[in-house]
């Protein structure tokens, strides 16, 4: 691990002021915020992250879950994953978020990992994590070892010739389906970023993963008010029953009335280079009758743009089945 200067930030403005001196907020940033550290310390040990300055933000007042004036929920950046998953309002009104959080990592990690850290969680692509291998995300221009390599767990949606790394977060998939908003405070004030716009597909710049700029501090994530009558579920499929990243996962928020879908929000994990909204399937289902045929057709449609790599072609059908079954669970067509 490289040496670093350590500062315990006492205020949000102090933290932002220090981070604003960074040359980038993306891969290779010389100044990093330190929250739970479960990603950052891990990557610093691997020399994948080599910040020369850490700004400890754990003592900032960003650890509350509060109702917003419009009936939604405001989640502080430092709320730990375990606390968020077990919060009564989240369990009652945003079940998909609680299920997604509890399907990720281990109990130990969830006690420490934060909301903003999970939002910014880095890919588990083994070539990104191994400094002996070429990786455009870690070192722009060095190439992508994964495309010709072991890519079984990697992305089939949103890939580019430069990068096929998967966004590993379960929480992000739920937040995408819930249409969350990322609240950011930076050197030039605050801004609210729709979840869909926060993460970037790799394109030619896979080292840029979000729209964050130097000094930007994620302070909260807000959720819209829960829709009365809507149900939500998270289904995660993986190589082990627990403590493993998704091969495919689905977050479903639906409202069914009179045997028809009235409201549908779908997102998937384990398949995309960012948390992936399934908008074509949402549109196809909205207004459609609730039955096995519409569910299956929408799930096939959802993966229509999938571009598998040499080892992960199985993910297309797996993701289709995952989404279909998540829809069955959310609508009561299936119970397990």
């Amino acid at each position: 691990m490289e040496r670093f200067q350590f500062t315990k930030a006492r205020t949000v403005l102090e933290a932002i002021g220090i981070a604003a001196q960074s040359t980038t907020a993306q891969q290779g940033a010389p100044i990093r915020f330190l929250a739970g550290g479960t990603t950052l310390v891990d990557l610093m040990k691997l020399d994948v992250e080599r910040p020369t300055r850490l700004v400890d933000i754990n003592h900032l007042e960003l650890n509350k879950i509060e109702r917003t004036s419009d009936g939604g929920l405001s989640i502080g950046a430092l709320v730990r994953n375990a606390a968020l998953a077990h919060d009564p309002a989240v369990v009652r009104d945003y079940r998909v978020l609680s299920e997604a959080l509890l399907s990720g990592a281990s109990a130990q990690l969830r006690n420490v990992a934060t909301t903003s850290g999970n939002l910014l969680q880095r890919t588990r692509c083994m070539y990104f994590r191994n400094t002996a291998m070429a990786c455009n995300k870690r070192e722009p221009g060095s190439g992508c070892s994964a495309i010709e390599g072991d890519n079984r767990t990697l992305a089939i949606l949103g890939t580019s010739p430069q990068c096929i790394a998967t966004n590993p977060s379960d929480m992000n998939v739920a937040l995408a389906a819930l249409e969350a908003t990322v609240q950011v405070q930076g050197a030039h004030g605050t801004r609210a970023i729709p979840f869909q716009d926060f993460h970037l597909v790799p394109g030619d710049t896979p080292h840029r993963e979000t729209v964050l700029e130097p000094g930007d501090l994620v302070t909260h994530i807000t959720l819209p008010a829960p829709r009365p009558g809507a149900t939500s579920r998270y289904l995660k499929l993986r190589d082990r029953a627990s403590y493993e990243f998704a091969l495919a996962s689905a977050a479903v928020v639906v409202e069914v009335a009179g045997g028809r879908f009235r409201y549908v929000r779908l997102a998937m994990g384990g398949v995309g280079t960012k948390p992936w909204r399934m908008m074509a399937a949402e549109q196809a289902l909205t207004g459609a009758a609730l039955n096995e045929q519409t569910v299956r057709q929408a799930s096939v449609l959802a993966l229509r743009d999938a571009r598998p790599q040499s080892e992960n072609g199985f993910k297309v059908e797996l993701a289709q089945r995952c989404l279909a079954h998540a829809l069955r669970l959310a609508t009561g067509m299936a119970s397990v």
């Binding site: 691990m1 040496r3 670093f4 350590f6 330190l34 550290g37 479960t38 310390v41 891990d42 040990k45 691997l46 400890d56 754990n58 375990a82 077990h86 990592a105 281990s106 109990a107 130990q108 990690l109 006690n111 420490v112 029953a241 627990s242 403590y243």
Partner: protein
């Protein structure tokens, strides 16, 4: 537990008159200044501020105060030192084990303010003011914690390397939301890997304590 604890070997003198840990420490395995390498294995658990007055100040190191098992330790550490390495190499509480060192195996599990965490992913300097509990703070060979006793009763280990992490995890689990079934326990214990595969016995031990915390000595 000592029969299955590899570090129990440390208490046996080698032919050269050095314990294994002394040798490793003097050979440079302890990269952190501040504590005499020859400090007896058990002394750290009972003595406050084990920093010898003559400890050299290595540039870039800093003095932190850590409350571990109810005792305050003032230690000089490198800012990069993890809580795990500080516990083992500086404070010499070696019951906490290093497995993967990347938050994947759970061998390093300790409690911070009563919650279980992977000490390998925590920088020690972040824990000033926290209450840290390690396996040494849980029970003693004469008065085992009920979870330790249950692990003995149910043979919840083979080589013993993951055991302190398993027990720390299991004790924390008692205060967490957890359903009644074995499957519920397995899910919440999935962050602790046992390469010997003692899982059925570990689950049995935990379930016994959940059903009856007054376990007789094993």
């Amino acid at each position: 537990m000592h029969e299955t604890d590899p570090d129990a070997l440390d208490q046996n003198e080698s032919p050269q008159g050095l314990t294994r840990r002394d040798f490793l420490s003097r050979a440079g395995a302890a990269g952190v200044a501040g504590v005499a390498a020859s400090m007896p294995f058990v002394a750290a658990a009972t003595e406050i501020a084990p920093v010898p007055p003559a400890a050299p100040e290595i540039p870039g190191t800093l003095l932190v105060s850590l409350r571990i098992n109810g005792t305050t330790y003032k230690v000089r550490i490198d800012p990069r030192a993890t809580l795990l390495d500080t516990l083992r190499e500086t404070v010499h509480l070696t019951g906490t084990k290093k497995g993967c060192d990347h938050g994947q195996c759970g061998a390093c599990t300790v409690h911070v303010n009563g919650q279980r965490v992977n000490s390998c992913l925590r920088l020690a300097l972040m824990h000033e003011g926290d209450d840290i509990t390690t396996i040494e703070g849980l029970g003693t060979p004469e008065a085992l914690h009920p979870m330790q006793a249950a692990f003995v009763t149910h043979d919840g280990y083979q080589c013993g390397y993951c055991t302190s992490g398993q027990i720390m995890s299991a004790v924390a689990l008692m205060k967490e939301p957890c359903g009644p079934s074995d499957a519920d326990v397995k899910e919440l214990m999935s962050g602790n890997i046992c390469r010997c595969g003692a899982y059925p016995n570990i689950v049995a031990a935990i379930q016994q304590v959940r059903g009856n915390t007054r376990v007789s000595e094993g």
